[in-house]
């Protein structure tokens, strides 16, 4: 237990972040294709596009 006190609290976080980024990366690719397919058929704007527009026009952030 005492040895744990000397471990940097962030250690191990690299591996975790790498695993999560890899898992989410794959998931986002699938989600992206699905959103494009959906907006092609429905004509509605996806969340990603809305975010992009808000960013470009420097709109106040909405939660």
């Amino acid at each position: 237990m005492l040895s744990l006190l000397y471990i940097d609290p962030g250690s191990g976080s690299f591996l975790i972040q790498a695993i999560i980024a890899a898992v989410l990366g794959g998931w986002f690719i699938i989600k992206g294709y699905w959103a494009r397919l959906k907006s092609f058929f429905t004509g509605k704007q996806g969340a990603e596009e809305k975010d992009k527009k808000a960013k470009e026009s420097e709109e106040e952030i909405e939660y």
Binding site: I16, I19, A21, L24, G25, F28, K55, E58, I61, Y63
Partner: protein, 448 residues
């Protein structure tokens, strides 16, 4: 010049008070980061999107503080801490942190810390107040504040979601964030079924003590991680549990007529005095605070009930009310001063100083449910503001009778005569109005 107790850790620059206004030094160690923050346009961009508290440089205090620069941020009028936020407030504070970091990446900067104290609610919205929180992105390194973000924001949100809204109070015992290992033991097994909870909470605790060889962590990966966190936090919802204070004014025997009459009386009494800041103690879902919605007055609506404050915050947010600040406050166990040397963070009463305090339908709960003497209630309010508008509910009132239903009536001092005797010790009565119900009286008082 007085250095703030809360800013002793940051070597980049400390916060100080000068002529009743707050400033922050920028030390030479932070120079290159500061130049990038301003030079890249990140600061202006974040300020426009209301993610980051604006500041301007203040030349005249540089020599006095022996620092590289001094900045003066927009002045905050009310500070609240995480244990005083409702679930939605907490969630939005987490999202504000993440959005700041995502946007910063486009400007080759990153948030170097992610703690709840860096977020405050201004004009009904969370905003990052730590002017020196950004640093140049060290390309290839993972997000330095990831672990802190999980422990400061995600763990409390999960405990509130899976266990109980009131577990937010735990954050007071863990001012540096709830350790992942502690959080894991408190969560029910079903939490593991949520892939995000598994990845951020259960997986790290099995890997954390193993030293790892770090390879390149691209900016793309970091954006993916942060966007993943945004999606995760956005979907978190708190379990709705019915509390006794829900719909107090809509579904009780008191009804609309009583409420309307009281609203008119309260407004006419408050119109007699001049004030800038009002604290509504026991605000419920802000029915009386709303009298001043979108006015030039600053209103703090405090209540013990998380559901009520959550509802009020949602209303403030959707109706874009800029002058009402909801906070969760248990008067019988208020936030003390805490942190390093027990004075790093101020107690709630130090932060709630105001011109007038509003205590409607509150005294009988404190006196009869919590055995607080009438004199103690008045003494506390006397320290908080110059004026006090307080309601006294007599024993014959149906609500007091309800409180006395299952307990022995040991409150022989609880009557209007004693209440007025106590008032006389500390206050002058400016106005007094009895409501038509016949058992409730409003007093407008001024400190002696």
């Amino acid at each position: 010049m007085q250095i703030l107790n809360a800013s002793f850790k940051d070597r980049s620059g400390y916060v100080f008070k000068h002529n009743n206004e707050y400033y922050r030094t920028v030390q030479a160690i932070y120079q290159s980061h500061y130049e990038q923050l301003l030079g890249s346009g990140l600061k202006d961009y974040l300020c426009k999107r209301k993610l980051f508290l604006p500041f301007e440089e203040s030349e005249e205090l540089v020599a006095q503080t022996s620092s590289w620069k001094v900045i003066k941020p927009v002045q905050l009028t009310q500070i609240s801490y995480a244990s005083e936020w409702s679930f939605e407030m907490y969630k939005d504070a987490a999202l504000c942190t993440l959005h700041n970091c995502i946007e910063a990446l486009d400007y080759d900067m990153v948030l170097k810390d992610a703690n709840t104290y860096n977020i405050q609610f201004v004009e009904g919205k969370p905003i990052l107040i730590d002017s020196l929180s950004f640093e140049k992105n060290n390309e290839g390194k993972p997000w330095i504040a990831y672990r802190q973000f999980i422990e400061q924001f995600v763990c409390p949100l999960l405990l509130m979601k899976y266990n109980h809204h009131a577990l937010q109070k735990i954050t007071l015992s863990y001012p540096n964030g709830i350790p992942i290992n502690v959080c894991k033991t408190l969560l029910p097994s079903k939490a593991k079924l949520n892939p995000n909870v598994y990845l951020h909470i259960f997986l790290p605790s099995s890997k954390e003590s193993k030293p790892t060889k770090e390879s390149h962590f691209s900016k793309q990966k970091m954006t993916t991680l942060l966007k993943g966190l945004v999606g995760f936090v956005k979907k978190l919802e708190v379990k709705k549990e019915k509390s006794i204070w829900d719909d107090y004014y809509t579904h009780t025997i008191l009804g609309n007529q009583y409420f309307d009459e009281k609203q008119v009386a309260v407004k006419s009494m408050l119109d007699q005095i001049s004030f800038n800041k009002l604290v509504d103690y026991g605000a419920n879902d802000g029915a009386f605070s709303m009298l001043y919605a979108n006015s030039s007055k600053e209103i703090v609506s405090a209540d013990i009930d998380y559901n009520c404050i959550n509802r009020l915050y949602k209303k403030v947010k959707t109706e874009k009310i800029k002058n009402i600040h909801p906070i969760v406050l248990d008067l019988t166990s208020p936030t003390p001063s805490f942190g390093w040397a027990a004075h790093e963070r101020d107690s709630i009463f130090k932060r709630l100083q105001s011109d007038v305090s509003l205590c409607l339908a509150l005294v009988h709960h404190l006196a009869i449910q919590y055995n607080v003497p009438l004199s103690s209630v008045l003494e506390l309010m006397h320290k908080q503001s110059e004026y006090l508008l307080i309601e006294f509910v007599e024993k014959k009132d149906e609500k007091v009778q309800f409180l006395l239903k299952n307990r022995e009536d040991v409150f022989d001092q609880y009557d209007i005569i004693n209440f007025e005797l106590e008032i006389d010790k500390l206050y002058t009565i400016l106005d007094k109005k009895m409501l038509r119900l016949g058992s409730r009286t409003l007093y407008l008082l001024k400190r002696k």
